[in-house]
Symmetry: C2
Subunit: 202 residues, 2 copies
DNA sequence: TGGTTTACTAAACACCGTTCAGTAAGTTTG
DNA sequence: CAAACTTACTGAACGGTGTTTAGTAAACCA
């Protein structure tokens, strides 16, 4: 039956149209301005139409989040190029923080906003995130003999926690408390991370 | 003039009534349900009245944030009791993470939500946060001779970043990616932190 | 061609933060 | 004491949000 094939194709294209518009708005105007109504207006459909393709806003955001995880994973693969395991770890940490600070709204969606997580079902494996997380675990694992951690999973947790903490405090304006200029903050972060890498090495 | 004194007193009492109600709602129902309208209903005034005492919602949240910083600072002082500088640092890190995970909505207000930061003026010194931050810097500074950091400010940055990262990932549900039970996650965090403390010590 | 399914939307509902005109009480002044 | 003024408060509105539902018009099928 060719017609139902085409219908299925059209349905998928509509979904792509919606998340494409939403992704653009996320990057350009931030998540606060990415409303169902604004997305609908941009693609020239009624807001109600979006609900024929997504159950609610959380499900829509969940799908954009998936795209964002793909994107950051691709960025990791592009930036982590060395053959030396320790150097790779350094590159990954640097890439993570650079990506987060350069793309605060997508970072928000991936790691801070509550909305997309409400759509993660109990049986859902949250694959797109898991792939990116696995990249970290693999990178740590490859370097484990040169790290002062007894367990690579613990090392991964510490590195992710630290990276996320630095990014989140920065993009949510909490670095203000240091009473430094933004340049000094950036310098402090870089030097602190460098020293941290030094410390965790055998 | 006694009348204007009384008026001033009444004005302050009204502000306390408002933030008191807001603080209660924050703790009990979370920040998403803490709306101007809900606060007004709780104190049995019209929503418009709140705007006679606070410029906008950001300013109101900023004041509640200040209370939260006082509270977490008091918690630090209660939990950090050892005489050994390194032990004090350990106690502080533990207290921070415990407080954050036990009080996710107040933690949100202090370190994640954008709203209260919009009320921090350029000349504003954000004192209540600074006092708590200084507690960290002082604690690190006292232990600096036993730490493998060349600079206590860098050490403070790493510790805060790590602590915030762990809390934020936990309360915003991102630990899901580990595909562990919540108990296993808690165990992992504890052991990772313990090992981290070991590593940064001389 | 007639009946049914599909795709879409206008309008409404229940929220939200915020503003403003109007009112009633409290205070000061002649 | 009464009139003038000031203060404290609110009802109602404005423009925004996510979401639901009844109704319509086109596409499809028999």
């Amino acid at each position: 039956m060719g017609i139902s094939d085409r219908k299925e194709r059209e349905k998928q294209e509509m979904r792509k149209l919606i998340i494409g518009a939403a992704m653009d708005m996320f990057i350009k105007d931030g998540y606060e301005k990415t409303s169902i109504r604004n997305i609908a207006e941009k693609i020239e459909y009624s807001p109600a139409t979006i609900y024929l393709y997504y159950k609610d806003k959380d499900e829509l955001f969940y799908e954009i989040q998936g795209e964002a995880f793909d994107q950051i994973h691709a960025y990791f693969q592009a930036m982590v190029v060395s053959n030396d395991p320790v150097e790779r770890l350094r590159e990954l940490l640097r890439a993570y923080i650079e990506y987060g600070i350069a793309n605060p709204d997508l970072y928000d969606l991936m790691f801070i906003l509550r909305s997309p997580m409400k759509a993660v079902q109990e049986e859902d494996s949250w694959d797109n995130c898991h792939v990116a997380f696995q990249f970290l675990l693999d990178t740590v694992d490859a370097a484990k003999d040169q790290l002062r951690f007894s367990n690579p999973v613990q090392a991964g947790m510490i590195l992710w926690g630290l990276g996320h903490g630095i990014i989140a405090l920065t993009i949510r304006d909490r670095m203000k408390v240091t009473r430094m200029t933004e340049e000094d903050q950036a310098v402090l972060i870089q030097s602190a991370l460098q020293e941290f890498m030094q410390i965790i090495l055998k």
